[in-house]
């Protein structure tokens, strides 16, 4: 691989936009708390508008970073996190066009906000100057983008699963909120969870499917790299969840818990595995 010149990154500018986006996501989270206190009885136009405003700011930030790097901005943990965050918001905004599932935003906002805050933590966005970027060729960029998109889909599926669990609990225990809340029916939430998991699984499979080609081109990478092993584990975990759901009719609460646990595992181990991996910066 030839030497790649990395232009200096005006990090404060794009980070400033991302900070504004995270503040908007924070406002959306606060509004979600208000909706929760009110028993989820109000429609969710405000959250949709706030998340839309947030993604505009975040897209601007990502564009600025991408234009500076002249590449897809997926080179470090900060950029990876912003990519996952962006995917979750974008997927929600598409789903939210359908009014009956727009309420997903009330549950998605805190997750989006938390990931945004995590991305802004110091030390996750080291300067690119003098370092060849990780995603310095198209194949690596594609691999990174596909896997990060899959984590976004898994994230939104876990949000739908949390909504399912909330509504299921309220119905099971005869809470008045079950009938008063403007939440989608649980069979629709299960469908959304399942479809997002399938989408995430397909994206992850495509992303991981590129690994053999990457290994050929990048001798410093190994199949035994902790990140590669971890990714394989995540892939197996979601495969098991989907097979159990599809083939053995494991539906409802267990499936929803599986979706939540799967994403919790990804989120909680992502950083640590990156620290263990010598060849991955995210």
């Amino acid at each position: 691989m030839g030497q790649i010149t990395v232009k200096s990154v005006s990090w404060w500018t794009d980070r400033h936009f991302f900070l504004l986006a995270v503040i908007t996501y924070g406002l959306s989270s606060v509004y979600s708390l208000f909706l929760w206190r009110k028993g989820f009885r109000k429609h969710d136009h405000v959250n949709y508008a706030l998340l839309l405003a947030g993604i505009i700011l975040q897209t601007k930030a990502m564009f600025m970073r991408g234009l500076t790097l002249q590449e897809c901005p997926v080179h470090n943990l900060y950029e990876a996190m912003t990519f996952v965050d962006w995917t979750i918001v974008a997927a929600y905004l598409v789903f939210g066009l359908w009014p009956r599932v727009r309420f997903l935003g009330a549950f998605a906002a805190p997750v989006i906000f938390a990931i945004g805050v995590f991305a802004l933590m110091p030390g996750l966005d080291p300067s690119h100057t003098g370092q060849p970027p990780f995603a310095a060729n198209e194949l690596v960029s594609l691999h990174a983008a596909l896997t990060l998109l899959s984590y976004g889909a898994f994230g939104l599926s876990s949000v739908a699963a949390v909504m399912y669990l909330t509504q299921e609990h309220d119905l099971k225990f005869h809470k008045l909120r079950a009938v008063l809340a403007v939440m989608p029916p649980i069979d629709r939430l299960e469908k959304i969870t399942s479809r997002l998991l399938w989408a995430g699984f397909v994206l992850l499979s495509m992303g991981l499917g590129l690994i053999p080609f990457l290994l050929k081109n990048r001798p410093e990478l190994h199949a035994s790299d902790p990140k590669v092993v971890w990714s394989g584990l995540v892939w197996c975990l979601y495969l098991a969840l989907l097979v159990l759901h599809w083939r053995f009719a494991q539906s409802g609460r267990k499936f929803a818990w599986g979706a939540v646990a799967g994403f919790a595992f990804v989120v909680l181990t992502f950083w640590g595995v990156n620290l263990l991996s010598p060849s991955h910066r995210f």
């Binding site: 099971k172 005869h174 009938v179 008063l180 029916p185 649980i186 069979d187 539906s251 267990k254």
Partner: protein
């Protein structure tokens, strides 16, 4: 010229009295024409439902005289010779207008906040409008009433939540299933409440209904009415794996469904969500089934508790609604109190 309203409602009189004053739909044109020909009203609308009979009119006479004249018309038209106390009420001016708004909003209804009355009021107004018995003042008053009803529906919680067992069951079903058309319903025990609940489900899109009853003839009769099919009472369990909503109201002295019976059925139905509505007393379904995954059991107390909570919340909204109505009526009064400038309705063109 002033707006007056006279009539009887479920608040003021029992059904035995109200039914004596009810207007058949076919009699409305004649009654409206008669009232105007007699000079009792320049404009008039008659509202006749199972819970109220009311005449909304615009008269040149002073309020008290107009109300007395319309009251006598009501008695004479229905040839009522008995004695009445306060069954027939009369309101004029701003009070009459506020009454119209309250009726439109369902605040004066037996089921607080119900919306059926708005449709009935629109129909009564359309009839009078079509027959040219309305004019500037009634047109404006009714149009404003419809707007106020819409505003109250969107800005307050007076119509939120179901307040009957049947409609609560439907709401619960809609929280489980996105389309009732795809989820078969079974009714065990063809009692009145289960029939109402099944009808409520049908009205919201349920298509496939199976009825089972100890008296098979009654099951066949109800199934025919509901557009479903009847199964023998001994065979209902065989149909169970295929259904997603069960309404049970048998008179059995013991539970007909418990956890031991349901567990294998849930496996056979691949753990699809199952809504069990038990409206029987004593209960038909053992409460332990609610511990099974994907099973949602509601008995009559649960349904009534939800309906009661909804009703309580609606009652809490009354003050807000009344304040809004008073404001809207007040805003309308100064102008409406003045003589209308437009042409008066033409009696001669009124069809009968």
């Amino acid at each position: 010229m002033t707006l007056v309203v006279i009539g009887l409602s479920h608040h003021s009189s029992p059904v035995t009295v109200r039914e004596r004053f009810a207007f058949a739909e076919s009699a409305l044109p004649g009654a409206l024409q008669e009232m105007r020909t007699a000079g009792l009203a320049r404009e008039a609308v008659i509202l006749s439902t199972c819970n109220r009979v009311e005449i909304y009119a615009v008269s040149d006479s002073p309020e008290g005289q107009a109300i007395a004249g319309l009251r006598q018309f009501l008695l004479d038209y229905h040839k009522f010779e008995g004695s009445l106390g306060g069954e027939i009420y009369g309101r004029g001016g701003r009070q009459g207008l506020e009454h119209l708004f309250k009726v439109a909003c369902g605040l004066d209804s037996m089921v607080l906040g119900e919306t059926e009355i708005l449709g009935q009021l629109k129909k009564a107004y359309d009839t009078a409008l079509r027959l040219k018995h309305t004019g500037a003042l009634l047109n404006k008053s009714f149009q404003r009433a419809f707007n106020v009803a819409k505003q109250i529906r969107t800005e307050t919680n007076i119509q939120r939540g179901s307040v009957s067992v049947g409609s609560v069951a439907v709401e619960l079903a809609e929280k489980l299933f996105s389309s009732l058309a795809e989820h078969p319903v079974m009714v065990i025990g063809a009692g009145e409440t289960s029939e109402k609940t099944a009808r409520a489900l049908l009205s919201r899109g349920a298509r496939s209904i199976i009825v089972s009853n100890r008296s098979h003839d009654r099951a066949v009769e109800l199934a025919r009415e509901l557009g479903g099919r009847a199964v023998s009472f001994d065979d209902w369990a065989h149909e169970f794996p295929h259904i997603d909503i069960l309404i049970s109201s048998t008179s059995a002295p013991h539970c007909i469904l418990d956890r031991a019976k349901l567990e294998p059925v849930m496996k056979a139905r691949k753990h699809r969500p199952l809504l069990l509505i038990d409206i029987a007393v004593p209960r038909d379904i053992d409460s332990s089934v609610n511990f099974l995954d994907n099973v949602y059991l509601y008995n009559i107390d649960d349904l009534q508790a939800i309906a009661g909570d909804h009703l309580r919340q609606r009652r809490e909204e009354i003050a807000r609604c009344e304040a809004l109505i008073a404001q809207k009526a007040g805003a309308m009064m100064p102008r409406s109190a003045r003589p209308a400038g437009g042409p008066l309705p033409d009696l001669g063109n009124a069809s009968t």
